[in-house]
Amino acid sequence: MLANALPTLIFYLLAAISLTLAWSVVTGRRILRAAVSLMGVLAASAGLYLLLDSPFLAGVQVLVYVGGIVVLLVFAVMLTRTTELLEDHPTRGRQLLGGAVALTFFGLSYCMMTAPVFANRALTALPKNDVAAIGRALLDTGENGYALPFEVVSLLLLAAMIGGIVIARKPAALVKSEVHHG
Amino acid sequence: MGLASWLILLPFLTALAVLAAPARRPELIRWVSLLGTGAHLVLTAVTTVQFWQLASPDIALAKTATLTKLYLVERIPWFKSLGVDYLVGIDGVTMAMVILTSIIIFTGVLASWNVVVRTKEFFALLLVLVTGVFGVFLSFDLFLFFMFYEVAVLPMYLLIGVWGTGPKEYSAMKLTLMLMVGSAFILVGMLALYHYAGGTTFDLTQLAQHHYPVEMQRWVFPLIFIGFGVLGALYPFHTWSPDGHASAPTAVSMLHAGVLMKLGGYGALRIGVYLLPEGAQYWGLFFMALTTINILYGAFGAIKQTDLKFFTAYSSVSHCGFVLFGVASLNLMGFKGAVLQMFSHGVMTGLFFALIGMVYGRTHTRIIPDMGGLAKVMPWLAVCFYIAGMASLGLPGFAGFVAESHVFMGGFFGNAWSDPLATRALTVIATLSIVVTAVYVLRGLAKVFQGPITDHHFDQLTDATLTEKLSTGILVVTLAVVGLVPGLLIDLIESALLPFVNRLHATGLAVAGHV
């Protein structure tokens, strides 16, 4: 009895955590605090993946998202530390506009979801999908294999890396001037 | 490749030849284009003779025909899926218009003998424009008709914008935009015609066999008539014509006023009245009234003009009003008058603008009050100017009178679908224009050519050179020949216009009892 109640409890717990943290990401005055709360949200979603019986994804989530991307964001915050510490509030108009758009989006999707199209299917029990299956799917060059996208993503990552380096490189002129004036 | 296609292709080939000629040698370019247009004149003559041999035997059966009989027809499928094919042919009206255009382009090339700025592009564009015009006159497939219509209208922008004078960009822009609006109307009309006839063919003769529902005709006809009316200087849409002509170089305004404005009248007749008889009957009186304003408005407007080109532009607005008046009177004489007026006004305005170009070339001013007593210095131009003036005010012995008398007779005889009293009243008002035209023509010409020489600079101006004499000479002779022996032209077009009238009577619901 307790066993099958637990997932619901955990679901609601995680939902609450991710929503509050998401809200603080978006409205946090201090950008660093926002980064940390983003980390929290991502961790919570890792938990959600677990709930959905896909532990590998949870692992990847934690590894890449939390470990990689959030760290990068923190670096970005550090690198672009601007003089004004506190990020001032967005203008009243912008808030209203953004809020209105977000709310309409949420309202619309809510109506869509409650429409009869999506049957309220409960989670059916499934054998744990092991990591090997995912690995085989990634490299399977057959009919519904994902070899091609896998290669393409690797290409994408490579391009992003090079792009990042090129863009973030200090412009030659700046370098030259700094060399002169010390 | 039959004669009809050659008529369209020859100017285009000349244009290519001109483009191929080295830009450094403008006189070579001029000779090439002159040769091309000269060859075209010969080709037109040959076609006319052949057409006449083919057409004259069955003039009799035109009395009852309700479909235009085409000769020298060439049909090549083009877009099979849409039912569009390259359909080219000749009937009486087309033949008259082709003769007119061929004469005007030949004299136009002669009149622009001293264009020095970028001669190559000028002549190439001019010849492309005229290819479009020939295409329109000769094509009997609505799609092809519209395509050539655009080909004819677009080079105008460049020709006026680059080689024009005065606010040339403004007028070029205005002219092209208004004509585009017009062609938009026409396109909508054509698509309606295509759609309501089952959307299988654009061929004019087949569309004619289809009887369109009366309500459809009632809203499509004004669309097409106004669409073509914009080019034919119908009253409220004529404002591009004074600016456009004033800023255009000589040959361009010759071609434009002389020929392009006739596309309007031609289209209104060939597509508007021919395919939509009930529409024409319904709107006949309205457009007749509008064109009456057109005639008097243009005439009165011309009185106060100080610039020679505006003066002629307004007079062509008035004369084009005759063309549309003839079309709107919906009877044989009206149609004949419209086509005759198209021909005679084409030649007349061509002559007027050629002469203005020559005078401007000498005095470098087009302002009438500044000029005076030029007859002493340039007698040939003065005589030709007076002949053009006399022809435009409808002096018998010139083509103007023949056309105007037809239009007025047609208007006065009225038709079975508009109230006879109204048509007669409108015709009487329209005839007032012969006096007003006389007033502004004589005032203008007397001020410019007669009286003492006002400006001593004009003392040593030279008279017309050989090319100028040739171009004006040809135009004057054409005016006189058609004026003295109208039978030639009338026989050519009468049998072609009978089907139009038979179609009107075949479907017409006679309103007033009428013989």
Binding site: L52, T80, F118 | -
Partner: protein, 116 residues
């Protein structure tokens, strides 16, 4: 209490409400955040919500294909989403750094070179 929770297990709709809420908050963040990095973070939120959705649909709507073999499309797509998100953050950060070097600010409202 336990059985209350048991028979109120979260159905697909609950999940979807959660993910769309997250997504909307992400949108709100993107449209109102002044700091460029903040915008990027909100973007991550949205991407993450979408990734969760993939897994959701895979698990709820198409767990197995006809032959009974388990379908993994959702999971694989999530991996790709995460990969793309990573690439995207790299490029985003590089742009912000370059922007900062150039303009000394990352305040989105002041960076409107797009206008002229």
């Amino acid at each position: 209490m336990g059985d209350f929770l048991a028979n109120h297990a979260p159905t697909l709709t609950h999940w979807l409400v959660l993910t769309s809420a997250l997504f909307s908050i992400g949108i709100y963040g993107m449209l109102t955040r002044r700091n460029a990095v903040g915008v990027l973070m909100s973007l991550e939120l949205c991407l993450n919500a979408a990734a969760v959705n993939f897994v959701l649909f895979n698990r709820y709507l198409a767990p197995t294909n006809l032959g009974g073999a388990e379908r993994l499309d959702g999971a694989v797509m999530t991996i790709f989403v995460i990969a793309v998100a990573a690439a995207e953050v790299v490029v985003g950060m590089a742009i912000f750094v370059a922007m900062y070097a150039e303009r000394r600010t990352v305040d989105v409202t002041r960076l409107d070179a797009l206008k002229d």
